[in-house]
Symmetry: none
Amino acid sequence: MSAAPGDKWTLILDAAYRLFGTKGFYETKMSEIADEAGIAKGTLYLYFSSKEELFMAMTKRDHDRFLGKLDQMLEQSESLQEQLRAVADHHLTYYFGVKRYPRLFFQAPNNDQALMEMMHAFRRTYMAKVASMLERAGIEEAQMHGASFIGMLDVFKMDILTNNNFTEADLQHRIQFAVRLFHDGCRGARD
Amino acid sequence: MSAAPGDKWTLILDAAYRLFGTKGFYETKMSEIADEAGIAKGTLYLYFSSKEELFMAMTKRDHDRFLGKLDQMLEQSESLQEQLRAVADHHLTYYFGVKRYPRLFFQAPNNDQALMEMMHAFRRTYMAKVASMLERAGIEEAQMHGASFIGMLDVFKMDILTNNNFTEADLQHRIQFAVRLFHDGCRGARD
Amino acid sequence: MSAAPGDKWTLILDAAYRLFGTKGFYETKMSEIADEAGIAKGTLYLYFSSKEELFMAMTKRDHDRFLGKLDQMLEQSESLQEQLRAVADHHLTYYFGVKRYPRLFFQAPNNDQALMEMMHAFRRTYMAKVASMLERAGIEEAQMHGASFIGMLDVFKMDILTNNNFTEADLQHRIQFAVRLFHDGCRGARD
Amino acid sequence: MSAAPGDKWTLILDAAYRLFGTKGFYETKMSEIADEAGIAKGTLYLYFSSKEELFMAMTKRDHDRFLGKLDQMLEQSESLQEQLRAVADHHLTYYFGVKRYPRLFFQAPNNDQALMEMMHAFRRTYMAKVASMLERAGIEEAQMHGASFIGMLDVFKMDILTNNNFTEADLQHRIQFAVRLFHDGCRGARD
DNA sequence: CATGAATGAGCTTTCATTCAT
DNA sequence: GATGAATGAAAGCTCATTCAT
């Protein structure tokens, strides 16, 4: 009769994910999250002590999934090329998968110290993974190379999230493009 | 008797810039902007019809300066290398110059359609300039190359804005790094 | 056209006095006070930064009036008997005059430190006035005698405030009674 | 197996006494009382139908103890002097004994009709006991004399409850003082 | 043009109480 | 009897915006 453990916690996080992702933090009301989750407003506060904390928990879950998936994909790759592809694929596919929730990537309550901390921690961890991958491949200044590669990928975020005609093919094209550019530079693209 | 035309308009925009940049859009109150500008709250509404519009005007002014400066710098550059350097220098120096106002780059009121439009327009214009520069240098897929280069630069935003120990030398290093990586790829960095 | 200075401040305090006095602090809502005062809820907060502060301001005004009136009455009295009568008259007449607002004397938000402070200050000032009066009349242990006299008066508060049949004559009787008892003790009342 | 009858009832009342007495009625949460009593929140409602009723039961128990003790002490006294001393001693010693729970004497939920009724009933009973004692000693207007004596004692409540340096000696001094003043009036205290 | 007192819709959060287990 | 997760009404306070002066 009773549901799985963590049932309501998940229910709330899922509802928050949809609403924060669709309307943004400030435009989403706690009462809406409760409605969306099918529970009472007060129940939210049994699981999360404030709106900020709820947002943070939701974001944390997302970060963990992102990093977990990344590890998986890197394990299955061997050569530098393959690994770069894995990172690019994962990064862009992630955005492609959350096209419906573009507000996840804007309008966080950035005055919340704890949240900012967490965002930075995620960033650091992500970059460290990519950097150590590059380092193993014998690339100098791995930190900066890693950051740059991530930047090259992240610039496509906007296209993916806001362009409704963005296709799977467009995605693949950008993956290949980023890997090649990172690897060879733009010289190869000159006439 | 009255000061230069646009006097108060500028006063307000400067005050808004400082406050939005320091505390973010939602945490900044219209009354604070009025105080900071040294005028009455009601006066704000003689110049801007809403908080969103004020934010937009402030942002627009910033965008125009950014793009104007970019044009200047590109005019003074000839070779591709020089031009890439100009773009990188300009991009990162811009962030370095507004270190004190990090909130300018987060927490915009992204539910405002007009504002989102403007942000996208800025992005398109910026990218188009870089792309056309690359095109003139004979680089294929100039759009995507331009976007990637901008992404490589933009990834350093966080470091610049949040790391208080970030020096002018760090800045120069990143400029060179980005240009080289974009030009040659990471191959040159292998042992 | 414009009203007297302090107009709205007085309006609010009067409304608060009636409502707090009728229903008590916790049962009175800020919105009710606004309604009673004929102004908007937000306007309250232009004059008082919180419900507690409003309560305190209201109480302070009352205290000041009480003590001011006491001074007046004591000035007009000469002999000890007359002065005791003045204090008793003033004390009990005060309660009689605010019969309609009995909750003024119960249910203060006593977790508010500043308010507690003020209540004690009032008590101290009141007692000091009576004590110094007794001292001038050559009575030893004036402090304690003053306190006791006030206690003898205050015990009638309940009757006055809650007994609807309490008359002006009952009042006068108690005034005389208290003065005589304080002066002569109960011995004179023995058969 | 189960403990003495009334076990939990007592447990709850004791917990309520400590918390209401420390923080006041409104600032004490039902959940805190449950925690303090070491039982579940819901269990409270098996014994008391509401927060008000719980407060009332707690108060009632206290009143009964107070009056019971008073009877005991009066029985052991013979002369008027002795009996006055007994009343004074009991009254002030009671406050002295509950110094740690000062909020018991402020901030009752006075909108509760039944509670107000009970408070008045206690007052009436207490006063009736003292009055009948005075009557037996042949004192006229025993009601009013009794009330006045109680008032003289009660005025020291504040000192006792809020002055942390208040000593046992201070207590004794006030007991003697009140009895003497009630008996002889202030005349004896004149130079 | 400029002002700033006034507005009131709207939000987060609390907590006494219930009831299925 | 005992539990404690769930409820939802209710209230203090904020702040963008207006408009009489």
